[in-house]
Symmetry: C2
Subunit: 655 residues, 2 copies
């Protein structure tokens, strides 16, 4: 492992041996020049003024958002709103961000965010974007790793429970979205018990434009009506393939806990997307009607737009020879993970004790030699023994997910036996196992799903919390645990609560992102049509019952801060421009009685919030983010007159 024996990765990109953090008197019997200080306290402690070594992006699950943590401290640095309204900043409430949450079903204030994946170049993390999926109303979002803001969301048609997503190919050619629940494709009114053979599973390949990251659905592979659970790209020699785990190959549509656990083996579906590209380039595929939203945030206007798209290209896998094969995998596989070399495809049958490892080379040979065991709806099933590389006899129960270090080791979570098992690729030998508290789902090693895993740390994301923290009533946060994996044996060093339910995470070294992190928005690049660039741009305009307030803010006043001539029945748009150009000087804005959230406005940014006053009176607004010694003085009043009043529109500051 690249950073083995290094306890800290220095913030500014220089690796240095900082075994002991900067407090005065840690004390160690082994001394500063001896072996690693094995104090777990010292290992996770990041002293005031120091920085964490790694970023960890944890999915929020049912929070709909993405949370940013530091490792090894386990401290949460930010919650990035993606699929859910976020009253804290006004995301999903401000006029500029509401279009991001538009779908073919209308505005949706929530989703279930599962699997972050950081963009890659040549199979290594490049730190440009992180892609995440919304399961419930299928969507993929792209988050900028310069601004840590959601920049784009695309809806996925013909899909439901978008779970085997949002994983990317090794040059970020595609981000992939696979349906969890099969549905009628296209959707239609039909009896549920006619599911079998009629429902379909769409696997969607979304192209990512290399410069700005803009997403476009390139094609959907319309697969049999299984449940598609997780997926991973091939890499290295297997680049060009994508692997999806399936369950419910029984095609049950009720009481799945019984009815979808009948088959001894389900499948990992291997998709040769380069073959499909060729097929499409030669005119293959069928454009079909669809309805899905594509929402893009424009950083220069500070606004999102939502566009409805009305068709999508589908391909039938049985019409493309050599494009899709099924690898039998025991039983109800959840995780589907590819090792850094691209040779091994690991299937974790969640009702199994063992871990099944397929060989990419053997798969290619089996395809060439037509080692088939029949087919499923016309898709060849490869012979299990012909593709099997090996089986890890773990002794655990309920394997779910595997990541890798750079020394040829794999780490698999076991939900039922509640542990992480470390084993060797190739020999399949178990070299260590440690309990988790409790019932681990996924795990994350920074870079551990790329060609180049980093880091000393493994983060286990547990499903059950119970007594790990002080109790907080019936509802507890979920819990993660950090293991030091720099040695032969894993060492549990810390527990930290997580916000929402992390299903997966993506981690990377701090230096990949920190130097290019955006600090402000430049006022001279602000193209918001209602921006007040300077107090001289401040004004109030009436257009019928619509009133637009172009308001600027700077420590410690609003311009204007007195407005008269507003009437009951008006719809008042406050467009707030923060004139600050220093880092970490946001201003907030809120108006009493607004039926929406505040807006938190970053330096150089413009945001809009709406108020529909219901009662005559003199109503205050104020800055909601403590910005200076005179923050409490940062306020203003709006006079609201009855509908039909003759009070003239006027505005001022300091008069």
């Amino acid at each position: 492992m690249q950073f083995k024996n290094f306890n800290r990765l220095a913030f500014l990109g220089v690796f240095s041996l900082l075994l002991f953090s900067g407090c005065g008197n840690q004390g160690s019997k082994e001394g500063a020049n001896g072996a690693l200080n094995s104090s777990a306290a010292e290992k996770v402690y990041v002293a005031p003024g120091e920085k964490d070594d790694y970023y960890a992006f944890l999915s929020g699950g049912y929070s709909g958002n993405l949370t940013v943590y530091g490792l090894p401290s386990g401290r949460m640095f930010k919650e990035i709103p993606v699929f859910s309204q976020f009253p804290t900043s006004g995301y999903g409430y401000s006029e500029e961000t509401k279009p991001l949450l538009n779908t073919s079903h209308g505005f949706i204030p929530w989703d279930d965010l599962h699997h972050p994946d950081i963009s890659q170049t040549n199979g290594e993390l490049d730190g440009r974007w992180v892609f995440v999926n919304g399961n419930n109303t299928p969507r993929i979002a792209r988050v900028s790793l310069a601004t840590f803001e959601t920049e784009e969301i695309i809806e996925i048609p013909n899909s439901a429970g978008n779970h085997s997503s949002s994983f990317i190919t090794e040059n970020t050619e595609y981000v992939v979205a696979g349906t969890r629940f099969s549905v009628p494709v296209p959707q239609r009114d039909m009896p549920i018990n006619e599911y079998k053979g009629n429902f379909k599973g769409a696997l969607t390949f979304i192209g990512v434009e290399p410069e700005h990251g803009h997403m476009e659905i390139k094609f959907q592979v319309i697969m049999p009506g299984f449940n598609y659970d997780l997926s991973h790209p091939g890499r290295g020699k297997s680049h060009g393939w994508f692997f999806f785990s399936t369950y419910n190959t029984e095609e049950a549509s009720s009481l799945l806990e019984v009815n979808a656990s009948q088959n001894d083996k389900d499948f990992i579906a291997a998709i040769n997307w380069k073959k499909i590209e060729e097929y499409i380039a030669n005119g293959g595929g069928k454009m079909v009607p669809a309805e899905y939203a594509h929402n893009v945030y424009d950083e220069s206007t500070h606004m999102a737009t939502s566009t409805m798209i009305d068709e999508v290209l589908t391909v039938d896998p049985t019409e493309i020879p050599g494009a899709v094969y099924l690898l039998p995998t025991p039983k109800s596989p959840h995780g589907c993970d590819v090792d850094p070399s691209g040779q091994y495809i690991i299937g974790s049958g969640k009702l199994s004790a063992d871990i099944t490892v397929h060989s990419f080379d053997k798969m290619i040979a089996a395809i060439e030699n037509e080692k088939f065991d029949g087919d499923a709806y016309g898709i060849p099933i490869l012979n299990f023994e012909e593709v099997l590389a090996g089986t890890v006899k773990s002794g655990g129960l309920g394997p779910l997910h595997t990541e890798f270090d750079s020394d040829g080791n794999a780490y698999t979570t076991f939900f039922i036996s509640s542990e992480v098992v470390k084993w060797k690729l190739g020999s399949w030998e178990v070299v260590d196992r440690k309990p988790t508290f409790y019932s681990v789902g996924h795990l994350m090693i920074p870079g551990g799903n790329s060609r180049k895993p980093f880091g000393n740390y493994l983060v286990a994301m547990n499903k059950i919390t119970k007594d790990r923290y002080l109790p907080t009533g019936p509802e507890m946060e979920h819990s993660a645990q950090i293991y030091d994996i720099s040695g032969e044996k894993m060492e549990l060093i810390y527990d930290f609560p997580t916000h929402g339910e992390p299903h997966y995470a993506a981690g990377c070294p701090a230096e990949l992102l920190a130097p290019k992190s955006r600090k402000i928005y430049r006022l001279d690049e602000n193209k918001h049509p209602y921006a007040a660039i300077g107090p001289e741009g401040a004004k109030v305009e009436r257009n019928g019952k619509e009133v637009h307030v172009y308001m600027s803010t700077i420590r410690s006043h609003f311009t204007p801060d007195n407005i008269e001539g507003i009437k009951v029945g008006d719809k008042v748009y406050f467009h707030i421009t923060n004139l600050e150009q220093d880092f970490d000087v946001p201003h907030g804005f809120s108006m009493i009685g607004q039926n929406t959230s505040e807006i938190l406005v970053m330096p150089g940014q413009t945001k809009t919030t709406v108020w529909e006053p219901k009662k005559p009176g003199v109503w205050p607004f104020y800055c909601t983010d403590f910005c200076s010694a005179l923050h409490q003085e940062m306020q203003g009043y709006v006079r609201v007159s009855p509908a039909g009043s003759k009070v003239e529109l006027k505005w001022s500051v300091g008069e």
Copy 2:
């Protein structure tokens, strides 16, 4: 200090000397029996399996919510939704919780939550409830410390920017809410520049019913049109009084950063609420029309209701001899804090270098001897020198807020010079000062605003974060810092990011809350009218276009999980009852394309979410909280037919 020299307060209520946490090889040159281990890492480290010593309830500020942290680890255990919609659990989206966010302005999905205060008995924390204020659309909420859920929210009429709130008297007789912005009382259409003399500031006393904590506005004191910033109750000898800091005694209505900083001294208003009680008991006060919401959550029906109230009792302070006095305090005081003995009232003039301490005894003597310096709108102004106990010559700049330990020390934050200053009550001598990073607002010592301060720790809540953590784009979390205050000198031991913007916090020992923390809701106490208590209670009922689904959940299926006969144009209410009766086994529910959030349903609980299907088809729902090895199988389908279809309503599971 009670716990001085104790590094940990043991979880189960027994104090024990646990200087070294449970990892194998911490190492200390001083040894386990020597002096305190001064390693900051060891001090803040809570090893896996151990517990924090204290709960800390930090206000979320513009998040609208209350966050629960552990000390000394700085880990966030829960975000309790109070004034803001919370997509994570469905708070403010579910049918049961939407009424909690109702106001006289309609449904409001957000507020600005500032000051938590834990209920007290005899001046000591009793750990029953925590009260918090919403600033923007004035409200007070009560949060249960058994369930960690919001149980009640009351709106405050005649008020704006409800900032000098929500502090409680020493037997929780009252929770107090003071207006920050003065407004016309009652509200009316009038020119803003006629503010002076016409706008008023309402200080509201809300009675708290002792058994269940239900709130009721008892009276509002209609004060001059100043800004009321913070407040604290008297205690011990000063019990029966309440103290409010004021600024903008200039009564400016525009550009307050200049116009409200003119007077050399503003006031602390001393309110003798026992006198006002007598006055009211004798028929005093005036019932006036008002409009405000009172929202109560009923734990047995699992539902909130919102009631509009149409009048409020106001009192004119000039009509109640001896009820209200003004104590001159330099300059633009923010914090207004009373020491544990009740003798000293500390005013922190935020544009001052010094801290002003008033004496309660001297105040009483000055009142008796009529040492007045005129009056403000008929309210006597006491002579400054006659009430002054002393001045702390701090050498800092911008004092904001003071808390106390039990050894007669006070700790004051300084925003401008960015530090905490420790000084002695009585001698006014500065004994220590430590920098904060950066620009501290308030601070918290567990119990530090009660008669009985606890603990070794001081938490500083800083307004500026800048470079304290790995950068996350233009928007950063705010930052808190923990100081060990068990010794003569304060020691900075840790930085942790905070979620939202904490303005104040309340802390208490773990043992006060942990043993009585609620684990589940009992099914046999569930009185929700749409509960399905057991799978046999599951059913689907149509009432015109309204469909009610009584659905039960248990690992790992829904009953029913197949529903047909739903039509486009229907409004489908899913009432989900979680039949689990084990701790930490929630189930979630979400339906594709819903224009609302998921619901997270605790064991024994019933929650309701609405779906208005827009398109015919077969649409899935699933459990959003990973609940068992077969969680991925926990799903179902609803068949939606076109409006007017003849498909019969039916439902089933496993058929």
